[in-house]
């Protein structure tokens, strides 16, 4: 696997060392600190987490029971799977914090891009993840504000009943082939293109966006593009995230990834919100997501696991491939501008 990003290292060897360290370190946490967080969590007595809406009621119960059992807790945990835009959820907590009120949720589980907004807007709290839970620093992002616990993928996807095997794109250049004119869809997660520009450079990234636009693509949200792809109204989605692929796999829908390089890999992050009512419970829950039990349940329910944990489906999947992981500096300085440019080129913005 080749991770094309400076923060997370460049070689498999480096990762293997990190993983060995993590495996060792996570089994020997700073025991007394961990115990005091557990004790404080018990005293706080509750926790509210905002998680992806794809978690069903039974899966949420499973999550809560595993978390409580692992740390021997008896507290009230609410996992809120409310749908809607992540940006609006951030706006909601920003508004709450701005008027000096505690945020609705203690923890927001979101992508690396959305956690960069939390960090930039000073909406999350710093925490000593390594010192308290023995979490390797490579899993810690945005100056100790967030931790990375799972990886999703975004790749071109196609309807396997309508696209012959030999026509399936084998490179990003194949995605902009004229044969897809009028038959391709682009979703509004335009930060995917900004992420590619991180490794391709701005000039090639923007040129690629313009080539895509020239194909007269159908635009829509992720859900709309996924629906159109299933129905055959489009044959190819320029990118689709693996949560949709997981859904297609479970339901038997004929949607497959075009296995090309590099793979766009948005990371799922967790962290404690500023002014959270239950800060210890929030930190403990984030650490739980990185534990063996947390990883297992996330993989079972969401079909995702950490890129950095040996033996997981995600780890296996990326072996021998190039992976684009968002760099912190890029996230904090460049991604917004490039996403906006992509919005304008495709027509999501005026």
């Amino acid at each position: 696997m080749k991770i094309i990003n400076r923060t997370f290292g460049r070689s498999v060897l480096g990762y293997m060392i990190a993983l060995v360290y993590l495996a060792t370190a996570s089994t020997v946490p700073a025991q007394s600190k961990l115990e005091s967080v557990i004790k404080a969590t018990q005293q706080e007595g509750a926790l509210t987490v905002n998680a992806p809406s794809s978690l069903s009621a039974s899966e949420r119960v499973q999550f809560v029971l595993t978390f409580l059992k692992k740390y021997g807790l008896k507290i009230d945990v609410q996992i809120d799977p409310s749908g809607g835009s992540m940006v609006r959820k951030i706006a909601k907590v920003a508004q709450e914090i701005a008027v000096g009120q505690p945020p609705t949720w203690d923890v927001l589980i979101m992508t690396d891009y959305h956690h960069s907004i939390l960090f930039k807007e000073n909406l999350s709290q710093q925490f000593d993840w390594s010192g308290t839970f023995g979490i390797d620093k490579k899993y810690v992002a945005y100056k100790n504000h967030s931790i990375v616990f799972a990886t999703s993928f975004a790749l071109p996807a196609y309807n396997s009943e309508l696209v012959r095997k030999e026509e399936v794109p084998k490179s990003w250049d194949d995605v902009v082939s004229p044969k897809w004119k009028g038959k391709i869809g682009i979703n509004n997660a335009t930060h995917h293109w900004a992420r590619l520009a991180q490794v391709w450079g701005e000039k090639r990234g923007v040129a690629f966006m313009k080539q895509l636009k020239a194909l007269d693509p159908k635009l829509g949200s992720n859900a709309e593009i996924f629906t159109k792809l299933q129905l055959g109204e489009i044959l190819v989605a320029a990118t689709l995230t693996d949560s949709y692929l997981d859904q297609a796999r479970k339901s038997g829908a004929p949607i497959k990834f075009a296995e090309i390089n590099p793979i766009i890999a948005p990371q799922y992050m967790s962290g404690t919100l500023k002014g959270a009512r239950h800060p210890n419970a929030a930190s403990l829950f984030s650490a739980f997501l990185l534990s063996k039990e947390g990883q297992a349940i996330w993989e079972k329910t969401q079909g995702q696991s950490s890129l950095h944990t040996t033996g997981t489906q995600t780890w296996n999947y990326v072996q021998g491939r190039d992976v684009v992981v968002l760099e912190e500096n890029f996230a904090l300085s460049k991604i917004d501008g490039l996403s906006e440019q992509a919005d304008k080129i495709f027509g999501f913005r005026r």
Binding site: P81, R88, Q95, T227, S251, R350
Partner: protein, 560 residues
């Protein structure tokens, strides 16, 4: 007039000022602020400059006007004949059609749009089934948006107009028929002019609604680069570069509020001439039905055709999708994959809480809305209260605030009053938001009916020494009971379906079914959304059937 009777309109005005006036002022405040409400920052016109001086804004405004006008042409050209057929003629199966209309409201517009895409797509729809390869037809344009949005407004328009048509004294029509005037001409020359206030109410209400609706413009307009105000508001709220720009959304919303204000003045002008439209007088009458005769098959064809477009085809797609593991075009192969698993898992999507919360919401919010709308309508239409125009404008402006902007404003107001009024994050916030949002609809429906009741009925009661309040309860209310029932029923449906405010004001404690549906939709889980939708439609169908059996008889008796 007693002191209490004099103070009553002032009290209603005060309540309305609290409920609507404060959020309106807060919208103005938000539009003048950069950053989020609550964050520090000076008041500025920067948001107005940013949105109205941006290149392309004039096209957006023009598209919005064209979209709203086209939508209204589609809506009214179906709704006016429909309401006449359902209320004034001997068309068969009227009760059944009325029920279908209620149920059709429950199909979300985004599914309706997808249904129509599915039907008209040259690749997978009817053209493909019929072997038509070259078809110069597309829904991804303004006429496509007019059609999908326009037919979706028809049921609500019919509800709004029904009471006015139903209560009308048939003497004028009968005079026309006696003079040899044909049915069609009587309809155009007598009925339409007499119900002009009701038609104006529908036009004004839905024109403003069309300016702020988002679903059809998003699904059919955006893929082709057609922007309207609601998509520009969405663009500001779903900012890609950090936090939402609520100030810009507020500034764009102010344009809709300004149009709403002008429309409201126009409407107030019409209802000030109440005597002109009063057709329910003290003289006894029984509404008589027009015999359609040889026109019956055509009339039935028109209604059936409408229901095919509005309900049957989208419902079939809805039902079909609910039985599939994933969405696919109908085929023999797909028939082998049918499953009930999406129905079996309904309570697993969001738990049971959203169902309980929805029940509370639709039980309380519509009741409060109607309880407030009746005095508002009476004051606006029947009284000589000096500020009745202000009262009506205030109510109407609540409709002109785009839901997203209203929700953000209320979120802010509930937050800053959290310590004294601890309702933030509870179901009470959703109840209040829906009351504010539905007031305009409910009052317009009741106004339209009340305007037709001649003052002589109340004057007769007063001359006989009946106190004013008793007169309203015993004389006016029974005559507008139909409108009140229709208004209430529609507010129930509106409240059930509303999702934008529920998302913004949502918390783990006040999740409702509409947010569960939205969450499933945003995950692309159309079969699950469809199963939930079918169950809700069936529930409402039975509920409305029961309610109409109970209340339908009640107000029919009163009218007779």
């Amino acid at each position: 007039m007693s002191k209490g009777a004099r103070l009553f309109p002032l009290l209603v005005l005060f309540v309305l000022a609290l409920l609507v006036g404060i959020p309106l002022l807060a919208v103005v405040f938000i539009s003048l602020k950069t950053g989020l409400p609550g964050q520090p920052g000076a008041l500025t016109l920067a948001n107005f400059r940013s949105v109205f001086l941006a290149p392309g804004t004039h096209i957006v405004l023009w598209n919005t006007i064209v979209f709203a006008t086209g939508t209204m042409v589609v809506t009214l050209s179906i709704a006016i004949p429909m309401v006449w057929l359902l209320n004034k003629t001997d068309l068969p199966l009227k009760g059944f059609f009325y029920l279908l209309m209620i149920v059709s409201v429950l199909i979300p517009t985004f599914l309706r749009a997808i249904g129509w895409i599915l039907l008209t797509s040259p690749r997978i729809g009817l053209p493909a089934l019929l072997g038509i390869e070259e078809l110069n037809f597309s829904l991804y344009n303004l006429p496509g948006m007019w059609f999908v949005q326009g037919i979706s407004f028809v049921p609500a328009s019919v509800f709004m107009l029904s009471a006015a048509y139903r209560a009308m004294d048939p003497a004028l029509e009968e005079a026309a028929y006696t003079s040899g005037v044909g049915k069609l001409m009587t309809f155009w020359r007598i009925l339409v002019p007499l119900t002009w206030p009701a038609i104006a109410a529908v036009f004004v209400y839905f024109f403003i609604t069309a300016m702020s609706v988002f679903e059809a413009p998003a699904i059919l307009g955006l893929p082709n680069g057609i922007f309207v105000l609601s998509s520009a508001i969405f663009e500001a709220v779903e900012a890609r570069d950090g936090l939402p720009k609520y100030g810009e959304a507020g500034a764009l919303g102010m344009f809709i509020i300004a149009v709403g204000f002008l429309a409201s003045l126009f409407y107030v002008r019409i209802i000030k001439q109440t005597q002109k439209y009063a057709v329910v007088t003290g003289r006894g009458y029984k509404p008589r039905l027009v015999q359609l005769g040889r026109w019956k098959p055509f009339a039935l064809g028109f209604v059936v055709l409408y229901f095919c477009a509005e309900l049957l085809l989208p419902f079939l797609i809805f039902f079909w999708a609910s039985l599939l593991p994933y969405l696919r075009v109908p085929s023999w192969e797909a028939l082998n994959k049918l499953t009930l698993v999406n129905y079996a898992n309904i309570f697993d999507y969001g738990g049971t809480e959203p169902f309980a919360n929805t029940l509370i919401l639709i039980a309380v919010a519509p009741l409060l809305t109607i309880a407030l709308s009746i005095p508002v309508s009476w004051i606006v239409v029947r009284s000589r209260f000096a500020y009745r125009g202000t009262l009506d404008t205030l109510v109407f402006l609540s409709q002109a605030i785009p839901n997203i902007v209203l929700a953000v404003t209320l979120l802010y107001l509930f937050l800053i009053t959290r310590s004294t009024l601890p309702i933030y994050g509870t179901i009470v916030t959703l109840i209040l938001a829906n009351v504010i949002n539905s007031l305009a609809y409910a009052t317009r429906t009741i106004n339209s009916s009340m305007i037709q009741i001649h003052r002589e009925l109340e004057e007769a009661a007063q001359v006989s020494g009946v106190p004013g309040f008793v007169t309203v309860i015993k004389v006016t209310m029974p005559l507008v009971a139909g409108a009140v029932f229709n208004g209430w029923l529609w507010v129930v449906l509106l409240t059930y379906r509303e999702v934008t405010m529920a998302l913004v004001l949502g918390s783990p404690d006040n999740r409702v079914i509409s947010t569960v549906i939205w969450a499933l939709w945003s995950e692309g889980r159309v079969p699950q959304v469809s199963a939930l939708g079918v169950v809700m439609m069936a529930t409402f169908f039975i509920l409305v059937l029961l309610l109409r059996r109970v209340f339908g008889g009640f107000y029919a008796d009163r009218l007779a």
